[in-house]
């Protein structure tokens, strides 16, 4: 790989962090509160130990990679010919479906929060085309974009959290007793599957990152930071609304923003914030599409590493990127005709798929290890 196509581990972790902010604000507060009630603000912290264990297994696996190898190449090497290709096919198809879901979910947020009289089609198409353009280019551009934009997103979240503190009430968060322990642990499931995505998906781009010491420590810190952020976010939403109202809201975080008044003069800023959240949607859709095309092209035996090809270059299986983009957009347009169907995808189908996709990685590692291929 050319040095100009390399990027740093920090940039890749930033991409993971920025990407998970999209499903986190869609799914996490409401889904966790439904399971854990007023204790949901602790759920993100409860999923930290199992996720750290997962990160440890993940790092053991990726430590076996050679120069230019990502998770896709490692999978192929660990599982061997047919099994490896089957796993890549599964990952490729899953990530395409997931990219379609991200497009549809982002469109729904626009429809619900800003354009109630419109449909999701236009947003799915526009964001899908932007993600397709990103996947046709260099992965370095994608991770560097994430690195630069993450501080903006985090800054906005922290600012909103600070302003929401005034409205928060302690009685919406406490008291908690031993009886809340099981619900709080159950509430960790939605946040856990969101963070798993941020851990494993960027792994397909690892080919562009140089092997360095401290992989595990970096991922643990990444997890700790995000768990703390998501806990604070949930505490703000819960503290302001209480569990009873949070579960009734489709987009609790954006409803919270709607209620905030800045310096007694500025209010109703939910529209710019919803628009800003297009960035994580774009990064997540692009990441999913990028990883999907990498898996599918690897499956066909084409070297998927980016070599500065033009957008219209169809050699080395690059036609698959266009096909994948079209498939993701089609999936986004067709998968959920209404909000109820989208909720089914969001709360049932996607979490199962996400957990299965993430759970497959330690299995691949163990198979590769047992067959001495790693």
């Amino acid at each position: 790989m050319k040095d100009t196509e390399r990027f740093s581990r920090r940039q890749l972790l930033s991409l993971g962090a920025a990407a998970v902010l999209s499903p986190a604000l869609r799914l996490y507060p409401a889904a966790s509160v439904r399971l854990a009630g007023r204790g949901a603000w602790l759920s993100a912290l409860c999923c930290l130990p199992p996720l750290m264990l997962y990160a440890w297994l993940y790092c053991r696996f990726t430590a076996a990679r050679r120069e230019g190898e990502g998770l896709g190449e490692l999978t192929l090497r660990a599982l061997g010919g047919k099994l490896g290709r089957a796993a890549l096919l599964l990952y490729g198809l899953w990530l395409l479906l997931y990219a379609g879901f991200v497009l549809r979910a982002a469109a729904e947020r626009f429809v619900v929060a800003i354009f109630p009289d419109s449909g999701p089609g236009f947003f799915v198409l526009t964001l899908g085309l932007a993600a397709l353009l990103a996947s046709l280019g260099s992965p370095r551009a994608l991770v560097r974009t994430a690195r630069m934009l993450l501080p903006v997103l985090l800054g906005v979240i922290v600012l909103l959290l600070l302003f929401s503190l005034r409205q928060a009430e302690l009685t919406n968060l406490l008291p908690l007793t031993e009886e809340d322990a099981v619900p709080v642990l159950l509430g960790a499931l939605p946040v856990g599957q969101v963070l798993l995505l941020g851990l494993y998906a960027p792994g397909f781009l690892l080919g562009g990152v140089e092997q360095r010491e401290g992989e595990l420590r970096a991922r643990w810190l990444w997890l700790l930071g995000l768990c703390l952020l998501l806990s604070a976010l949930c505490a703000a939403v819960l503290g302001c609304f209480g569990a009873e109202i949070t579960t009734r809201l489709s987009l609790p975080f954006f409803t919270l923003v709607r209620n905030l008044v800045f310096f007694r003069t500025l209010e109703r800023l939910e529209a710019p914030v919803v628009s800003l959240w297009l960035i994580p949607d774009f990064l997540l859709a692009s990441l999913s599409l990028f990883c999907a095309q990498l898996c599918l092209r690897l499956l066909l035996g084409a070297g998927p590493a980016y070599r500065g090809e033009a957008l219209t270059d169809m050699r080395r299986g690059r036609w698959l990127i266009w096909l994948g983009g079209a498939a993701a957009i089609a999936a986004g347009l067709l998968m959920a005709p209404n909000a109820r169907a989208l909720a089914l995808w969001s709360e049932r189908i996607i979490p199962i798929g996400q957990t299965a996709a993430a759970g497959l990685i330690p299995i691949i590692y163990m198979v590769g290890k047992s067959k001495k291929r790693l």
Binding site: I114, M148, P175, E179, E244, R248, S275
Partner: protein, 378 residues
């Protein structure tokens, strides 16, 4: 520098996505009527809405309120939109929600659910109940010239904030309290003549107790001190007591706080509640002569203060017992002090109140007097 340029570019790129520019959904502010107060009344088989807008500029008359009837909130709003001469009614800045007494007697759950689902209305919008009247007459008639119902309510709210008195409950707080314990308190207003110019105004009418979303009782304005104390604290209120000679004395409450302590039986059941309140007041107005025994006079006034506060707290707690409803959210205070025991209780506090031993202890303190006859004793 490059980063700053990128962020700035990105920010301006994202702004039109809010729908304010290129989407075709943009609206000119001159063509919009910005609604600030919404009144909701019951009509047989439906809802009557009254909307009051803000004045367009300083010194200008407030636009005339709009009214419409429909089978529900949305239908009534659609009817108003159809008949409005304004191009667009903008509900994103609604500040107050007024509900007529009859509508409150028929229940607020549907209305609060609509507020919760609405893409326009804010959940932190205060909700008031119009005591003995309709929201429509208050929205249409209160105020004069450039001061409409919105300005009157804003002034009332600012006054409460300055005096650190309890402010009106928001729609979110009401909905939460109703979902959590079946009861809630909303501020009540009465449509009456203003003293200064003979116009009509929205005067404090105490509090409305809601049980399962339905109006269940009223609490008089003078008992609001009891409510505020039982909910944690109060300040900036005035209280009238009688002195040794039977003359009226006005006390200004400077600070009041309370603790609600649960008393548990050995088997873990709740035996009672100890309400401990502490109030500090200043003498605002008295007819006492300077030659009187001031220490004795002050002791007497302190006892009167304690008795008056205790009486008000007692009245509120009796109402809770009578309605079997914890509209004061005492459960929150008790649960924070003993979470484990609280969790083990088999019934909500409202249902237990009738069988609980409740003791009220009030400690009063007179801080100083604004009256020279008392402070001038040397």
């Amino acid at each position: 520098m490059k980063k700053i340029a990128l962020y700035s570019f990105l920010f301006f790129f994202l702004l039109p996505l809010c729908g304010c520019g290129v989407s075709g959904q943009h609206r000119e502010v001159e063509q919009m009527q910005i609604i600030q107060t919404v009144g909701v009344d019951y009509t047989p088989g439906g809802v009557r809405l009254s909307l009051a807008a803000a004045a367009e500029a300083d010194g200008q008359e407030t636009p005339p309120p709009l009214t419409g009837t429909g089978r529900n909130y949305t239908a009534a709003l659609d009817r108003i939109r159809e008949s409005s001469v304004e191009e667009e009614l903008f509900l994103g800045h609604v500040q107050n929600l007024l509900v007529g007494q009859e509508a409150a007697e028929h229940g607020l759950e549907d209305l609060l659910g609509t507020v919760c689902r609405s893409a326009d209305l804010r959940l932190d919008m205060p909700l008031y109940i119009v005591r003995g009247g309709s929201a429509e007459e208050m929205v249409l008639g209160a105020g004069s010239g450039s001061r409409g119902i919105t300005e009157i309510l804003q002034a009332t709210d600012s006054r409460s904030e300055r005096r650190q008195a309890a402010q009106s409950e928001t729609s979110a707080a009401l909905l939460r309290s109703l979902s959590r314990r079946g009861g809630a308190l909303a501020k009540a207003l009465r449509y009456e003549s203003a003293a200064e110019d003979g116009g009509k105004t929205a005067a404090d009418a105490g509090l409305a107790v809601l049980a399962d979303g339905v109006l269940a009782a009223w609490i008089e304005p003078e008992d609001a001190i009891g409510v505020e104390l039982l909910r944690g604290g109060t300040a900036g209120r005035e209280l009238s007591v009688l002195d040794l000679g039977g003359l009226p004395v006005t006390l200004a409450l400077q600070r009041g706080e309370s603790r609600v302590l649960p008393v548990w039986n050995e088997d873990g059941s709740l035996r009672g509640l100890d309400v401990l309140a502490q109030v500090r007041a200043a003498v605002l107005e008295t007819a006492a002569e300077s030659g009187e025994d001031l220490d004795h006079y002050e002791d007497y006034l302190t006892a009167q203060l304690e008795s008056a506060v205790s009486e008000r707290i007692g009245r509120i707690l009796r109402l809770e017992r009578q309605l079997k409803l914890d509209f004061l959210a005492l459960d929150e205070r008790v649960s924070l002090s003993s979470p484990e025991r609280w969790q083990a209780l088999d019934a909500p506090l409202g249902e237990l109140l009738g069988s609980l031993e409740i003791s009220i202890t009030v400690r009063g303190e007179l801080l100083h007097s604004y009256d020279s006859t008392m402070d001038g004793r040397g």
